[in-house]
Symmetry: C2
Subunit: 306 residues, 2 copies
């Protein structure tokens, strides 16, 4: 089976995709955007052995590739429309491709994004690049740059689970819940949409909360305090790790794909599943406090100031 | 220097990009599409050692990655607007990245496409995925599926040069002109735009003329005859290869990134730089003729029928 037949068989479903006048099979896709909206475009790559372990199930790789891109769409307050896929494979294993396609469409269907095109190539490592186009009300995209002194800082869901899940896998005692949080992150599309018009700034937590909050602060030209003891923790992470480990994973572990956002006090109180973790300040940079005491945070964790 | 600083320094130029309200640096780019147009989206990946030799200059890799994607935009009759880049590197070599960025922006500036976002990752091979969004008049995109019996078949430029260039490189007698045709293909944006409203079908020649024409014929549900002796050949290929080699390279060599299109007789006579190479017929499939005689074509070349 050659590349073209492979693509036809597994990726080219006969279903109509709204707004896509031409999909897979021509030199490019032809789309009719909503003329009243702005577009949001994101692109992200996952590389075997770097972003996921070599033994990862093909369906999970695909699901995760779609989900992490949808997380960027969520962080902009957009709703997802169309997706393209650039897939590099070591060899043409039909069963692997079938599994990959099932995970891809599971995520795509769940969040309403249509696959409109792609490219399949060979290479020395499985490399998955997904690009997604979303739409947002004109002028309403959530940026990193709008945080104001006096705003409160919130996150969705719980933090640290994905990094904790990887750690249980590496220790050969995988925790199903925590590992699923790594393999199949939940893009917070609904929360992102609810924040349009309410949040002043937003970012998704992909590299770790401390680092990602710092990017938001830099973009906004403000500082912040975060209360480590307020970071939301799942019961699963609490059952497997010490309180210090939990907090370090929540503060520094990557791959959570939760949203971190800022809003004026009480503006977002109607949104469920969010936790207030700190506040925007005038002083430059991020200050972390543990039960009120300032602690110093670096890539190895946090420690109390001398 | 970490990844973020690298991106800022080499890829985030301070120039405004028309229609891009937010570019590099947030979770996604925010775009305002032209409400009267349709969009064309394309994506293509180049892998080191597969799509270009390991020793290829970083600037050439980048130029080529942009050009081959622009070629798909050209084949749809669109004009390019915005581009995202997913770049996987073996290691962070600042000089390499600087050279890569120079080649990327050389191609981007030449054809008027703006870099609005991207992702940089590590992996075992240099892998470059470019995604481009173009715009086209509503309902006017050039598809593969519109060829009509009685149409004539045309190509832009000359054929076989890129494959010939690779062959001179492999023989350690590189021909500068032919190699440049491989490393820095010319996306036929202008020709594609001129064909809107005139051509009935179009495709870009990336896998080899015979194979790509066959895809166009399949999509259109028609057949065709091609006259091998009419395939346009550069003086450089004529100087280095036998006539049979020239014709085989022109018919089967990939990476030309010329346009092949169909149009009713005399409709496109005002367009310069194109050559008529055959005609659309009722009979299924592609029939190749050499000086009138039917020849059989497969991946190893052509031979006269028994």
């Amino acid at each position: 089976m050659d590349e073209f037949e492979l693509i036809r068989r597994y990726f080219n479903r006969d279903s109509m995709i709204a707004g896509a006048d031409v999909g897979i099979g021509d030199d490019g896709a032809v789309l009719t955007p909503d003329a009243s909206k702005q577009q949001v475009q994101v692109i992200d790559t996952l590389v075997e052995g770097v972003h996921f372990p070599h033994a990862t199930d093909a369906a999970d790789i695909a699901y995760r590739a779609v989900a992490v891109n949808l997380s960027d769409i969520a962080a902009m307050g957009a709703h997802p429309r169309w997706m393209t896929l650039a897939l590099t494979l070591r060899n043409l294993d039909e069963q692997w491709v079938e599994s990959f396609a099932s995970g891809l469409f599971e995520a795509a269907d769940k969040y309403g994004v249509g696959l409109i095109g792609g490219d399949t190539t060979r290479g020395p490592a499985v490399t998955v690049t997904v690009a997604i186009t979303g739409e947002v009300e004109a002028g309403e995209a959530l940026l990193r740059s709008g945080a104001q002194v006096g705003d409160e800082i919130y996150v969705t869901g719980t933090l640290g689970d994905a990094a904790a899940g990887l750690r249980t896998l590496q220790a050969d005692t995988p925790d199903d819940f925590l590992l699923a949080r790594f393999l199949r992150p939940t893009p917070r599309i609904e929360a992102g949409r609810a924040l349009v018009g309410s949040a002043t700034a937003a970012i998704d937590v992909s590299d770790g909360l401390a680092g990602d909050v710092s990017k938001l602060l830099n973009a906004s030209g403000v500082g912040a305090e975060i209360d480590i003891e307020k970071l939301p923790l799942s019961t699963a992470i609490q059952a497997r790790f010490s309180i210090t480990e939990q907090q370090q994973l929540a503060l520094l572990g990557g791959d959570d794909y939760e949203l971190c956002f800022t809003a004026a006090p009480d503006v977002v109180s109607g949104i469920s599943g969010i936790t207030r973790i700190g506040r925007v300040t005038e002083s430059v940079g991020l200050c972390c406090r543990l039960n009120g005491d300032v602690v110093e945070v670096d890539s190895s964790g946090y420690r109390h100031f001398q």
